[in-house]
Symmetry: C2
Subunit: 260 residues, 2 copies
């Protein structure tokens, strides 16, 4: 039996039919499918550790997790085998052997989420699982002005959903950006050193209120500063949310601080 | 009771969970869903006439059909009501009152189909239902050279699937084009005055053989000229095929000649 090795796995998944990332009794999760197929591949029980959870219906282009295995399979063999076993809505994008000290959650320096809105009168049958459809025209410039206040270190309590304990609600937003794509698509990008529970979806929901003229960019900033979640807008639906990337630093890092 | 009016309906649908356009006993079809909801809206039995069938799993951005109704509902009311009743993978894009003589099939001047290939090593979980994934690199220039021979009037027997009777196999290809989109997407556009059974999928499958270097553009042309379907490549899967648009002429038209 070989010594255990640590493997880093980067995953894409269509979250539509999953009850989120983390193992649970009431429904199929990404973690469950993954551990199941890894057990088949490695012929041993495998426990995977994700960079953080994603909620039911949330998608990923670059979720990261790690696991240990005594299997002698090379990373490429693991990837090929895994992809032949996984259902077609989960795909191993990258499989790498990493330093035994690597931890998918604690070593993460930042995460990039993208929230996707389809803003046009008519819905799109092909994007129905991957966007939040908003019929009335949104003012992109107002949304951009609202977003700008998020940059930097803030107490994000206003955008945290209940049931997330009373840990530190301060996060550092490293980058925010609103991108307009063809035919009414709006992608809002958020990179932070960590995210509170439902933070991106609560931000997206409130940002749509700014775009619709229900609140001004200054009021958006006021909500952030108030630290009172009752003032924020609705939580945007899970189907528009994508975990794009988990970034790992070279040398010392602080780790992300996802509130779960 | 009002006199019957003729309504033209333009539809988008995600064909994934349907057994094609036309009513059948063995599975749910677009026509069935549509007639069912129109009956609810108009409170009378409704029979819709499509521009032509689409096969199981084939998608549409602009399928067209017509029906007659004695309902007094305005086209906008019909559209709104229909879209509130239809499942989220079928959408009424446009509803118009038309001349009583209009016929969705016989008046069509041409149809535009698009075949979508994802050409990159890794699949994309979000495009799995909407593309044919080809891992090995395809030579776009060879494909373009192959495509060029299709332009104009030809006997397309080589690209017709069996079971389509022995009607005239000559069609006029008005436009062919290969478009490269971001990240490995290849869209092959075909506009013709009519299509034989599985013609676009047989063309796409043989075209991939050209891109992969299995046959040359000249051999592709030879297959077209041979008029022998046993020489063509595999039939490309339904999931990559989109009916983009049905074009109706002003004044006299010849009608499309779909082989069904």
């Amino acid at each position: 039996m070989a010594a255990p090795r640590k493997i880093k796995l980067t995953l894409a998944y269509d979250g539509t039919r999953y009850h989120g990332w983390q193992l649970q009794r009431n429904g199929l999760t990404i973690q469950e499918v993954l551990e199941d197929k890894l057990r088949v591949m490695t012929r041993e029980p495998v426990r995977v550790f994700g960079s953080g959870r994603t909620d039911a219906g949330v998608h990923a282009l670059g979720q990261v997790c790690h696991f240990e295995t005594r299997s002698r399979l090379e990373p490429e063999e693991l990837q090929r085998g895994l992809n032949s076993l996984l259902p077609d809505d989960v795909h191993a994008v990258r499989v790498e052997a990493v330093d035994p000290g690597f931890h998918a959650r604690y070593d993460a320096r930042s995460k990039v989420y993208e929230y996707r809105i389809l803003n046009r009168p008519e819905p799109d049958v092909f994007l129905r699982r991957y966007t939040w459809h908003i019929s009335r025209p949104l003012d992109r410039e107002a949304m951009r002005r609202g977003l700008a206040c998020l940059q930097g270190e803030h107490d994000f309590s206003s955008f945290r959903s209940a049931g997330s304990g009373n840990r530190n609600p301060v996060r550092r937003m490293l980058h925010v950006e609103l991108r307009e794509a063809e035919s009414g698509l709006i992608h809002v990008v958020f990179e932070a050193n960590g995210f509170l529970r439902h933070m991106v979806r609560n931000l997206a929901g409130t940002l749509v209120d700014v775009g619709a003229g229900k609140i001004s960019p200054a009021e958006f900033e006021g909500i952030l500063e108030a630290g009172d979640r009752r003032r924020a807008g609705v939580k945007a639906p899970a189907r528009g949310l994508f975990l794009m990337e988990v970034l790992y630093g070279c040398g010392e890092t602080e780790g992300t601080d996802d509130d779960r």
